[in-house]
Structure formats: structure tokens, C-alpha cells
């Protein structure tokens, strides 16, 4: 018994000493390395790690890399890709394709976090440490302004020509102080999903064009379905939890009522107007009437769950829900379609612009090679491939909407072209680098309207005061 304890203790002591030695080393070096010069010193020590990466790539792609290695020209780039899942599998094929064709530039594709908050957190940690570990990254449509400091300008690498065929709104969104910091990659926009079978059952000719129509249809269908015994049925589900998603939904309500975009691209605070406050009051009136009381806790997936079970007539959601609603276990298979969201008046529809860009870190050791890969990823050819992949990523190249293959295999894309061309961008570039605070102020106040804590008029007045204090911009009409 005693001997065993001795042996265990001995082992522990040795481990502790080893650790103490390591720890001691860290202690003497770490405080001596202030944040700024740290990155330069770090560069050589990290090189081996980066070079070790290709071993993780599939064997087939490795061969050409090794053959080229003696010349010493192989560059390995780290690409933080999408979260694990369907899209990542497609990106893996892309990386393999690139690696096979370019023995001198090898991509090491890594799964990124699923949640956007985790992802931006990760990027910021890397930027703060001026880490050279990440070269290519995907950037949410609201991040270019915030991250501009840390990203390369694609205009130095032929970016201007490359984005000539993209939606101008997205190019403008990605251009910060004349620097093109992200290449449009794929887009996204808020859609109105509706139940074709129920519209027919209750005698409606087509989806609603105005919010008033939506309210009427929702009420009729909801009353009818509940009378038939489905007590869980609701007219309209959307995203009402206090997070970025609510900013998207509320911007659609406001913009489609002629209430502007919170802050205009010319840096004028436009939110305090009657149209905007009426739009917020209208949304409040839905809760408990045509939308469930719990909608103020809903994110995308919560709304989709209600929809998926066949318990909603209408849903506001992103295009991703389209494919999932066609799965075998969905209650709405073949009974739904998607269209533009309603407006205060017909034709005033607005969809909040979503989607992702490709960016390259300023701290990358090989910005030129990384820019080359990024330009290839965002090229028309690759955008077509990703549109035809199972995830149906929506192109930012206008020409692709006339592409016969896409028209044949993804008929909804050309149909939704008007939604994406007229999509309204959140004021992220105008208010950079403070967009997150702007959005936070906006959705918190909207949330207070939805929970009955303040009226729409108070909310827009509060938002205006807060934005004035935060940004120092002028106030004006939309």
C-alpha cells in the first residue's frame, strides 16, 4: 500500500517539476513581451506549426506539395471555413480542387465555429494578438466596417475588376474608406415563407403584399385552423429575441414602411420618424394575436420549429429554411413557397441583406497568395458551383441569375432575384467600428416595444438620443 503511494507521489513530483520548469519559462518571457512587438517575434516560432499542417490534408493532395517542396516555394495558407456540416463538406472539395491544381499554394481548411458570436470572438482574439495563424476567413455582411483595420485591401490585388459583376450594394458595403476589404461570396435575405395549401383552403389568391393583408390572412387562417382543433396554430412567426436577428427583422418593418435604415449611408440618424414608430407599434400588436407570446424569445430555429411542425401559416426566415422544410420529416413538404416580405404598401417590400464575404487577414504572412485564393473562391465559376451544391448558396454575381444550369436546378434563385437586388443593408459600414453598439441600442429598444415596456414613439426617440451620443452624427429625415 505504502509503496504504491510512494510511486504515485514520485511520478506526480516529477510531473510537477517539469511543469514548474515550463511555467517558469513562460513567466520570464511572457511579461517581457508587450502586445505590439510580440507578433514579429512570434513569426519564426510559429513557422514549423504552419508547415506541419499539410500532413492533415488528404494523401492525394499531399503528393504534389511534397514534390514541389525542395524548391522551397510552397506556401501553406490557413482558411477558417464554415462550421462543420453540409457547407463545410463542399468547402473541403473546393480546397482539394485548389490544392491539386496549385502545388505551390496549399490550403489548410479548418472548421470554424457555428455561432457568429463565437466566430467574431475568435477573429478578434487572433487580430488582437496579431497572429499570423489565420490567412483566409469568411466575414459576415455586417463585419467589413468593424474589421477593416485588420483586413487587406483587395484593390491592391485586382479586386476592383473582380467585383465588377457583383451586386453594387454588397460591394459598397464591403468598401470601407475606399478599401475593398471583403469579396462578395454569397448573399442572403429575409423571405416570407407561406403555406400554399392553407392560402388555397381559405380562398386567398396569393401571398400578402402588405402588412395589413398579412395580418388579415394570418387571423383568418389561424382562427380557422384553431376551430378545427389545432390549438397550437399561429398566423405568423418571426425572430423577436433581443439579438442581431431582431435588428434584421425590425429593419425590414421600418424600411418597408418608409422609415429609413436607422442611420443612412450618409451618416445621418434617421430613425426618429412616424413611419418607423408606427412600424414598431404594428409589430407589437401582432404578439398574442397572430404571433405567439413566446416570439420575443424566438431566434431563427425557434420560428422554424413551429413552421416545421405545420403550426404556422407564415414565417419570416432566411433562405436556409427552404431546403430543410423539404425534408421527409417536415409537415410542410410540398405545401409551401417563399416570396418577398410585405410592405406598408404593395411593392414597398424590404429584405435585410445577409450573407458572407471572403477576407484576408492583414497579418497573413502571404497576403498575395491568400488574395489569389480568395479571388478564386469568390469567382463566378466557384459561385456557380456553390449555388449548385446541396446548400444552394445564393450568388452575388448578377450574371449567374441568367445561368441556364442554375435556372434549371435552382429555380427559386432567379425568382427571388428582385428580393436580393433590392435587399437593404444594415447601417454597418456607415457606423463602423461601432455598428454592434448601434445594433444593440436598436434591438434593445425594439425589444422593449415588443415586451410592452415602451411605445414605438418613445423607442425611436430613445434610439435617436443614444445614437447621437454614441456616433455624434447629425439627425435628419430618412
Amino acid at each position: 500500500m505504502k509503496r504504491r503511494y510512494l510511486a504515485v507521489m514520485g511520478l506526480l513530483v516529477i510531473m510537477a517539476m517539469v511543469l514548474a520548469a515550463c511555467g517558469g519559462g513562460a513567466a520570464t518571457e511572457a511579461p517581457a513581451a508587450p502586445a505590439e512587438p510580440a507578433a514579429q517575434e512570434a513569426a519564426p516560432t510559429e513557422a514549423p506549426a504552419a508547415e506541419a499542417a499539410p500532413t492533415e490534408a488528404p494523401a492525394a493532395e499531399e503528393a504534389p506539395a511534397e514534390a514541389a517542396a525542395p524548391s522551397g516555394d510552397v506556401v501553406t495558407l490557413t482558411w477558417v471555413g464554415p462550421g462543420p456540416g453540409g457547407e463545410f463538406e463542399f468547402r473541403k472539395q473546393q480546397a482539394a480542387e485548389w490544392n491539386a491544381a496549385n502545388p505551390d499554394i496549399q490550403i489548410n481548411l479548418i472548421e470554424g465555429p457555428v455561432s457568429a458570436t463565437d466566430r467574431i470572438g475568435l477573429y478578434l482574439q487572433a487580430f488582437q494578438a496579431q497572429s499570423t495563424d489565420i490567412d483566409i476567413m469568411q466575414i459576415d455582411v455586417i463585419w467589413p466596417g468593424d474589421l477593416a483595420d485588420n483586413l487587406i485591401d483587395f484593390n491592391e490585388y485586382g479586386g476592383a475588376e473582380a467585383v465588377a459583376g457583383d451586386f453594387p450594394a454588397i460591394v459598397q458595403n464591403n468598401t470601407v474608406d475606399g478599401r475593398l476589404v471583403g469579396l462578395p461570396w454569397f448573399t442572403d435575405g429575409g423571405l416570407l415563407y407561406y403555406r400554399t395549401d392553407l392560402l388555397e383552403k381559405y380562398g386567398f389568391a396569393g401571398p400578402p403584399a402588405t402588412w395589413t393583408e398579412l395580418e388579415e390572412m394570418s387571423q383568418t387562417i389561424q382562427d380557422g385552423e384553431r376551430a378545427e382543433g389545432n390549438q397550437d396554430f399561429w398566423g405568423y412567426v418571426w425572430q423577436g429575441a433581443p439579438y442581431e436577428g431582431l435588428t434584421c427583422d425590425a429593419l425590414e418593418w421600418v424600411y418597408s414602411s418608409g422609415g429609413g435604415t436607422i442611420v443612412s449611408p450618409e451618416k445621418v440618424i434617421t430613425i426618429n420618424n412616424d413611419a418607423a414608430s408606427a412600424a414598431l407599434d404594428r409589430a407589437y400588436s401582432w404578439i398574442g394575436k397572430i404571433s405567439p407570446p413566446g416570439v420575443t424569445g424566438f431566434m431563427e430555429e425557434d420560428s422554424r420549429a413551429v413552421w416545421h411542425a405545420g403550426n404556422a401559416a407564415f414565417m419570416r426566415n432566411w433562405p436556409y429554411a427552404y431546403g430543410l422544410s423539404q425534408n421527409d420529416d417536415s409537415a410542410v413538404v410540398g405545401k409551401f413557397d417563399a416570396t418577398a416580405l410585405p410592405g406598408a404598401e404593395a411593392g414597398q417590400s424590404a429584405a435585410t441583406l445577409g450573407g458572407w464575404q471572403v477576407g484576408v487577414s492583414k497579418y497573413s504572412k502571404y497576403p498575395e497568395a491568400a488574395a489569389k485564393v480568395a479571388l478564386w473562391l469568390a469567382s463566378e465559376e466557384q459561385q456557380k458551383a456553390q449555388a449548385l451544391s446541396p446548400n444552394s448558396l445564393i450568388p452575388t454575381k448578377m450574371a449567374l441569375y441568367e445561368d441556364p444550369d442554375i435556372a434549371a436546378q435552382r429555380e427559386f434563385m432567379p425568382k427571388l432575384l428582385p428580393v436580393f437586388t433590392s435587399a437593404v443593408a444594415r447601417p454597418s459600414t456607415a457606423t463602423a467600428p461601432q455598428y454592434n453598439e448601434v445594433s444593440n441600442i436598436f434591438f434593445s429598444n425594439v425589444y422593449d416595444v415588443l415586451t410592452g415596456k415602451q411605445s414605438g414613439a418613445d423607442a425611436v426617440a430613445n434610439i435617436e438620443i443614444d445614437l447621437e451620443d454614441l456616433t455624434g452624427f447629425e439627425v435628419g429625415a430618412p
Binding site: P31, Q231, D466
Partner: protein, 360 residues
């Protein structure tokens, strides 16, 4: 006598040296890991640094702390009818109409926002703060921390006493009680979130509806009155095992012959618990309380996953300030404030429970 004394002082010196040697690894490791991050957090808390930005950082003194903590109470003036010069009164209810609380609060030099309104002696007042989100986060976290730790202590003690009793399958039960603690927070928070769904896909709404209570649409996680209780339930479920296991280990260190003696004296189980077990467990309870309280006050994952930005804990507030708003200086100041709040609790415990380790 003199000889013995000399020997003991030699021993004491030997003991002291040994103590320093034994403590050295702990200190070296902790300092090696933490010194740079802690010093930099402290330093940044006096600056306006932006996270991951090239913007020059300036020293701003105590501004961050002032913005976190400034509070004021202002009387809200009643609305005056411009025509009559009288105080406006609601025609239906007969209640006095007041100016908006937002406008009653000062805007210069810094803007105060509404934390809450209250009435006192017929006047209406508003409590304002420069950062109501932080003030609310501190309050919510303290309420959360104190309630969870209290409930966990009581329930954990019951669980520990049960699995310390002699019954068939005790080993199995001891493993079983750890199930909640074993499941990663990332998963357990989502289980609970799903059980609390605001419609009949959720367990609670379904059961309440079957029992004829509630509409089946109670929004537990978005209704402010239910949010904190829900968080407390989740955390108590998750962390009671931690408390129970620590207390169980403490119980096992109590020699059985003490109870035998008490049995002979005819002390009942309740009396022997309060007179023997509890005093002997004091040290264990104190340590368990200190660590549980510190953990509960630093709660992060649970709030971030379940409530997101609807309601913050102190740590999730700090997280969103850093990651979303990139206010590195401000979030560092918030971290230091958390440290101070925790210190108050830690010192309070050590004083009141006598955790002071010096035997003499």
C-alpha cells in the same frame, strides 16, 4: 523544558521551510499563467483601448469605472398643462401625468439611462445609471448567486446525507447523483432551454397544460419575471451534485465512533446532525460555499446560451462588451469590478465562517 523548547523551535523552522517548498509549485504555476493576463486587464481598465484595432490607446483614468458605476436619483416632474398651468391628470384614472423618465435624467456631461421608476411620498422618482445594463447585471448576478448557492447547500446536504446512509445500491446512487454535473453546460443548457420552450414542444408547457394550468404558451425564458427563476432552477439542478459530493467527502472524514457515542447518549438523528455533524463539517461547508459562490457569481455559459443578450450576468456582460462592442478598456474595468464583488463575498465568508487558517 528548555531543551524541548529549543527542539520545537527547530522543528518550527523546519516546518516553515517545508511549507514554503510545498507552496512553491502552486505559486509558480499560478503566477506563470496568470501574471501577464491579470496585469494587462488591470492596465487596460484605465484606458479607452479598442479590442483588435489600430486605434491609438489613451489613458483615461477612472472614466471606465465612472461610466460603469454612476447612478443618480431624480424626481420626475409632473406634466403641466400649458393652457391652465395646472398639473395634468389622466381623465379616466385620475392619476397624475408625469414627464417621461428618460427626459428627466441628465444628459450632460454623460447620459443617464433609466434603471427603474419608483414612487415615494406621492412623488415619482427615477433611478438612472450611465450603464443600466451593468447595474442590472450586477444585481441579477448577485440574486442568482445567493439563491443558487443557498438552495444548493440545503439540497446538496440532503443528497449527501442520503447517499452516506447505508442502503443497497449506494455506490450506484453515488455515481448517479453526478449525472447533472457530468453533462457539459453546452448540452445541459440546451436541454433546459428546450424543456422551457414557450409552446407545447416544451416539457413544462406541456405538463402544465395537461394539468389544466396555463395556456401552454408561457414564455418562461423571455418573460422577465420567469427568467431568473428559470436560471436558478437550471443551475441548482446542474450544480447540486458538486456540493453534495464535497459534503459527502467531508462526512466521510468524520470518525464513526463519535456517532456511536452520541447514540449511547440517546441523541436523536436530528440533534446529532445539528450538534455533531454540522460543526464537524464546518470547514468543508465553508470551502464549498466559497467556491460555489465564486463560480455562481462568475456564471457565463448558462446565461450566454439561454438568455443571450436578453439579460446579462456580470461575466456575459463583460463578454459582450469585449467581443461585440470591442470595448477592451471598458470590459477590463468590468472584470475588475467583478473581482471586487467576488472579493467582498470571499472575505465575508472567511470572516464569518472562520476559515482563517492560523491555528494560533
Amino acid at each position: 523544558m528548555a531543551n524541548a523548547k529549543g527542539q520545537s523551535s527547530d522543528l518550527a523552522k523546519q516546518e516553515q521551510r517545508l511549507a514554503y517548498w510545498l507552496l512553491a509549485p502552486t505559486f509558480i504555476i499560478l503566477l506563470a499563467i496568470a501574471i501577464y493576463p491579470l496585469i494587462s486587464v488591470f492596465g487596460y481598465s484605465f484606458t479607452n483601448a479598442t479590442f483588435a484595432s489600430n486605434k491609438p490607446t489613451e489613458f483615461v483614468g477612472l472614466d471606465n469605472y465612472r461610466n460603469l458605476l454612476s447612478m443618480t436619483i431624480v424626481q420626475v416632474p409632473p406634466l403641466i398643462d400649458e393652457a391652465t398651468g395646472q398639473i395634468q391628470v389622466d381623465a379616466e384614472t385620475g392619476e397624475v401625468q408625469y414627464e417621461s423618465s428618460v427626459r428627466a435624467l441628465p444628459r450632460e456631461p454623460v447620459r443617464f439611462r433609466v434603471v427603474t421608476d419608483f414612487s415615494l411620498f406621492g412623488n415619482k422618482y427615477v433611478l438612472g445609471a450611465t450603464d443600466p445594463a451593468f447595474i442590472r447585471a450586477v444585481w441579477d448576478t448577485i440574486v442568482f448567486g445567493v439563491s443558487t448557492v443557498f438552495l444548493e447547500l440545503v439540497l446538496g446536504m440532503m443528497v449527501a446525507l442520503i447517499v452516506n446512509a447505508n442502503f443497497k445500491g449506494r455506490g450506484f446512487m453515488r455515481a448517479l447523483i453526478l449525472v447533472p454535473w457530468v453533462i457539459p453546460t453546452a448540452v445541459s443548457s440546451q436541454i433546459w432551454e428546450y424543456m422551457f420552450q414557450p409552446n407545447r414542444t416544451g416539457f413544462f408547457n406541456t405538463v402544465l397544460w395537461y394539468l389544466g394550468m396555463g395556456s401552454g404558451e408561457i414564455p418562461f425564458l423571455s418573460d422577465p419575471t420567469w427568467q431568473l427563476p428559470a436560471m436558478i432552477v437550471i443551475d441548482v439542478w446542474k450544480t447540486t451534485p458538486f456540493m453534495a459530493l464535497l459534503l459527502l467527502a467531508g462526512l466521510q472524514l468524520i470518525p464513526a465512533d463519535i456517532y456511536e457515542a452520541a447514540d449511547v447518549d440517546g441523541a436523536g438523528p436530528v440533534r446529532s446532525f445539528f450538534q455533531l455533524t454540522l460543526p464537524l463539517l464546518k470547514g468543508t461547508i465553508a470551502v464549498a460555499l466559497v467556491f460555489r459562490t465564486l463560480d455562481a457569481l462568475r456564471v457565463f455559459d448558462l446565461f450566454q446560451i439561454v438568455l443571450g443578450q436578453a439579460r446579462y450576468s456580470m461575466a456575459s456582460f463583460t463578454y459582450y462588451e469585449l467581443i461585440q462592442n470591442r470595448a477592451m478598456g471598458y470590459s477590463s474595468a468590468s472584470s475588475i469590478m467583478i473581482f471586487l464583488v467576488l472579493s467582498i463575498f470571499a472575505i465575508g465568508y472567511m470572516r464569518s465562517l472562520g476559515v482563517k487558517s492560523d491555528d494560533h
